[in-house]
Amino acid sequence: MSLGTAPRRSARRSGGAGPRRDHGVWFLVLPALIPILVLSVGPLLYGVSLAFTDAQSGRTEPTRWVGLLNFGDLLRDTLFWESFRIGLVWAVGVTVPQFFLALGLALLLNEKLRLRWLARALAIVPWAMPEVVVGIMWRLVYHPDAGVLNDTLRTFGLGDGRDWLSGLATALPAVIVVGVWAGLPQTTVPLLAGLQNVPRELHEAAAMDGAGAWRRFRTVTWPALRPVALAITALNFIWNFNSFALVFVLTDGGPGGRTRLPMLFAYEEAFRYGQFGYAAAMGLAMVTVIAVLLAVYLAGRLRTEEDA
């Protein structure tokens, strides 16, 4: 992120005496810093430490350190790893189409089309909706009888349709479509912002040189857009892998665990069965694997950037 940069001269010139300046800065920072420390840093460290204990909900005996016991159990927990696999399929299945669809939409919204303002406003409607409502809405779309999807299929004579969210084969693809839909605006807006930073003159110069649309995109647009694209796909992957509410409402992990994302699994472990320590270990395993995957992804991307 680009937050830390500041004009140095202003820091030097304004304020005057050193100690007084620092005092003032602390006064400005503390109101935000304290809640972050108490309700974000503290809990996270506490949560990590819980993964090495046998903490349970509502138990009277004191919680004990159990070392790596939770992780040993976790390694043998085939249900969790199945859920983990589903989580990865979901995260990739949502993030990749989301990026390409958003890129297409951003490119369109960046063109001088008629009613562009209206299209821009309508395109971000999903962003304003609660995830629970998005889930409910798509349940209505997928509904076997009253749903618009089966109704359309019947109208075009494409069979009677099916119960999309209860079918073993269709449930995961069906929720992935909803995931793509829900995150499209969040992905489109930064890409559109990035597109608007691409210098017009470069485009015009390339066009003068006879470069076609695809070449112009490859040589002018994409290099300028790449940092935004990299950041937004990485963030989307994290958010999608940790997603909860959408699938909780759509299928609650069913049918037969086919859509049980790791967060749903960990939620049940913690708040249905009260296994706080074990659930924390799951969370830690999730964040570790994500960190490794992202490091590989970002390193690979940066290397291609150097080669290019």
Binding site: P43, A119, V133, I238, A291
Partner: protein, 289 residues
Amino acid sequence: MTARRGRTAAGRRRRAAATRSGQYLALLGYLIFLLVPFLWLVSTAFKPPRELGSIDPGWIPHDPTLANFRAAFAEQPLLRSAANSLLAAAGAAVLSVVVATPMAYVLARFRTRAARAATGWVVVSQAFPLVLVIIPLFLLLKAVGLVDSLGGLTLVYLVWSLPFALWMLTGYVRAVPVELEEAAAVDGAGRVRTLVSVTAPLLVPGIVATGLFAFITAWNEFFFALVLLKSPEKQTMPVVLTHFLGAEGVADLGPLAAAALLATVPGLVLFAVIQRRITGGMLAGAVKH
């Protein structure tokens, strides 16, 4: 030569026209994908039970009715849950801009290690699965008696909305020229005076947009509310909406759609208000590397 150039120009125009039509077609495709589910929700909310049960549900209800809305209010405590949501979301939004604005000012104007560390943390914390945060938060809030309380939830929402608030506000502060503040300093105004009487007024539109965004985020939030609020009379709207789904997933579709539609209205209205600013703020944040 001129004739040839004329032909190619005409050809280029034809190709440009074809490209344009293709673009409009693609845009139409996007809008259909994005809007059809929402329009179906609206349509379902106004359909009488008879049409909802039919095998061939149409787009436009034949006998549009408000019965679903009445039923929704009768089935679940929608009004009280809306009031709860409003309280938590408004509290979080106000607190969030109050504490984030001074910090965003520091982030934009100084290189303070503490401020940068806090920002770094805010970014890193995004990557952690909520389950790692919610268990300790639950235990912590329980220890101080803030579990099952809207106050506790408001505090959680405050911290949760800080990353985006800081990001947006830092962009808005950068947009205020440093020279204005320096001029005020030359005139003998102190740091706080300058901040309050010169910078803050220029930030008001940005602060309002950021606050409204924080409000929408908190209004829409589900996971923390699900875990932290147990008493039915304290639950927020998204949690109450899931009660319409029924234990076995057999839902009364009409009231479900009506309630879901109502829960969407504040977000949509506010988003329409701040839409330009959100895009602009992101842009500002992205430009100033």
